[in-house]
């Protein structure tokens, strides 16, 4: 009986170990690779003989990578602020006010969140070209609204709807306007939902590739995913794997840290919204 229990327990922890190993190893290996230079790069040591930061120095000193980082940071932060601003007011209207057409709007929002990006790529290209936004950060800020906005509105609406009606009624009795109700009553209560949706919108914008690839045409305007994808050499042997891994680690570590700090909020946001960030 106890022997069977012991075997079961061992097998369970073996499974747990396999899950953790598979999840974490590729990123671990990327970090290790980024710390190797020269011929060591082409060995498969799981621990570098000599730890070298050459790849990191090269990534930051040559090419436009620092600029690409700033682009990504600027674009992602702006996208978060804009989608939260538009999202909060819309969520209040959709969750708290009974009006004709609400169902239609919610249906439209849900439909847009299912759009394949390719379906709007040609039309968006025409739009950003005609408005001369092409090859500027604003083309990306604008186009990223297509995936951050529906998600933000949807999750915030769910959240506002679940807040008790009484808190608002008191404010209405006091004669507060809807705008004041949002700012004074809802905003302080909505922080958890704002952090979650803001973070997921940030991750979505930070990782986006297709629009960034299509709407930027020179190195200085690119975001980091495109910069990493296009880092290459003249031939297969000249691909700077060490630098690619260093750049990858630089853009991923902040995300992993954020996700681990806010893991509970992110999990609840993902499952409540059901929308992939």
């Amino acid at each position: 009986m106890t022997a069977a229990k012991l075997i079961r327990g061992t097998l369970f922890y073996l499974l747990v170990a396999v899950i953790v190993f598979i999840s974490v190893f590729p990123f671990y290996y990327a970090i290790i690779t980024s710390l190797k230079t020269g011929t060591a790069l082409f060995g498969t040591d799981l621990w570098p003989q000599v730890i070298s930061f050459t790849n990191y120095v090269l990534v930051f000193s040559s090419g436009s990578f620092p600029r690409n980082l700033l682009n990504s940071l600027f674009i992602s932060s702006t996208v978060v602020v804009l989608s939260l601003l538009l999202g909060i007011t819309a969520a209040y209207a959709l969750a708290r006010v009974a009006f004709k057409g609400r169902k239609v709007i919610l249906f439209a929002i849900l439909s847009v969140s299912m759009f394949p990006q390719l379906a709007v790529l040609a039309g968006l290209f025409e739009l950003v070209r005609a408005t001369h936004l092409i090859n500027t950060p604003f083309a990306l800020i604008f186009s990223y609204m297509i995936f951050t906005l529906p998600f933000t509105v949807w999750v915030l609406t769910t959240f506002v709807r679940d807040l008790p009606m009484e808190i608002e009624e008191a404010a209405i009795v006091d004669g507060a306007t809807p705008w004041n109700i949002i700012i004074k009553v809802f905003m302080p209560l909505m922080w958890p939902a704002l952090v979650t949706t803001g973070l997921l919108a940030f991750i979505g914008a930070w990782n986006e590739f297709l629009f960034a690839l299509t709407f930027t045409s020179n190195n200085d305007q690119r975001t980091v995913p495109v910069a990493i994808a296009l880092l290459g050499g003249a031939s297969d042997f000249e691909i700077p794997w060490g630098q690619i891994m260093a750049a990858s680690v630089i853009v991923t570590v902040p995300l992993v840290v954020l996700v681990l700090i806010f893991q509970r909020k992110i999990i609840s946001g993902l499952t409540a919204g059901g929308v992939k960030g």
Binding site: A95, A98, F115, A119, N207, V259, K276
Partner: protein, 326 residues
């Protein structure tokens, strides 16, 4: 779709006559609050979609973008009879490369969603049990999800590298393969490589959705089953699976929609590989790389129609609560 939830979740705006001015004021400000959001959605989604559909019926090219004319269905299907009597067919609908990419995408979606559900269920069951170190495991499985797709594509193409990749070295040492394999370039293995990376990256998302479903199941059901002496496998098939099925269905259709529009991973991990080219990659290449903008727009439209049909099915099956929740 109109189910009982709709009636219960409409906020009770108790409106005695005295308040009707207030109600009207609230409705007015609701529209005021919604307008900016709706305008942005129309500008970024509605209008571009209509333009994409329109371009599919024109001869637009990148070289002379503004001068284009309506050519009807020619991008989809054109039948020309030559003087010799031979009939030529052209257009996306008879393009073998398009159908190849449809087949690649559907195959990718079915296999990846199947394995993601399978592994997601296993990991979710593990995380649903109480054991020491559960927090560590939950944190660990979030790592693949947090890594940008492009970064995971690059990480894996390094590990799968034909010359220096660690996977070839390990498999050679274990005697599983006898010579190094060019996983991402060779026609036989490219799709497998894409599947492995996608399953690795997306199983965490599936796990979280299934786990949320598992945690909704009241624990006393399990206790009752335990008292009755029901074995764990039977409990899974008879209790857990039926109860988690609604959450599972939503997760599966959601993932399937996502898999059918795959672009990034395939574009970066296996560039220019006919065996993995997806519908999205096909459309993007025609739009911007092959200078067949109109043709690419037609392909994009077909992709949209396909996904719209599946979305309608999803809304119908998932009985999504349109009052703002799920």
């Amino acid at each position: 779709m109109a189910n009982a939830e709709l009636t219960t979740s409409i906020p009770v705006v108790t409106a005695p006559p005295r308040r009707s001015v207030l109600t009207r004021q609230r409705v007015r400000s609701a529209w005021l609050f919604l307008t900016p959001m709706l305008l942005v959605l129309i500008a970024v989604a509605g209008w571009p979609l209509l333009r994409t559909i329109y371009f599919g019926f024109t001869n637009t090219s990148l070289v002379d973008f503004d001068n284009h004319k309506w050519i009807g269905f020619a991008n989809y299907l054109q039948i020309v009879q030559l003087k010799s009597g031979r009939i030529l067919y052209s257009g996306v609908l008879v393009d073998p490369l398009w159908w190849r990419s449809v087949w690649n995408t559907v195959r990718f979606a079915v296999i990846s969603v199947f394995f993601e559900t399978f592994f997601g269920m296993i990991v979710a069951l593990v995380l649903n049990a109480e054991f020491r170190g559960r927090g560590v495991v939950r944190a660990a499985i979030l790592v693949p999800w947090a890594i940008p797709t492009i970064v995971s594509a690059k990480m894996w193409s390094w590990m799968l590298n034909d010359q220096f990749g660690i996977i070839n070295v390990v498999l050679l040492n274990l005697g599983i393969i006898h010579e190094k394999v060019a996983w991402t370039a060779s026609a036989d293995t490219a799709m497998t490589a894409v599947l492995v990376v996608d399953i690795w990256k997306t199983t965490p998302f599936m796990t979280l959705l299934i786990l949320a479903g598992l945690q909704m199941i009241p624990t006393d059901i399990y206790e009752a089953a335990k008292i009755d002496g029901v074995g764990p496998l039977k409990v899974f098939w008879r209790v857990t699976l039926p109860l988690v099925r609604p959450a599972l269905m939503v997760a599966v259709i959601f993932r399937a929609l996502d898999a059918l529009r795959i672009f990034d991973l395939i574009y970066v991990l296996t560039p220019n590989n006919a065996q993995t080219k997806s519908m999205s990659v096909f459309a993007k290449e025609n739009l911007f790389d092959f200078d067949k903008f109109a043709y690419g727009s037609a392909a994009s439209t077909l992709l949209f129609v396909l996904l719209a049909l599946i979305t309608i099915m999803y809304l119908w099956l998932g009985r999504v609560n349109l009052e703002g929740g799920r």
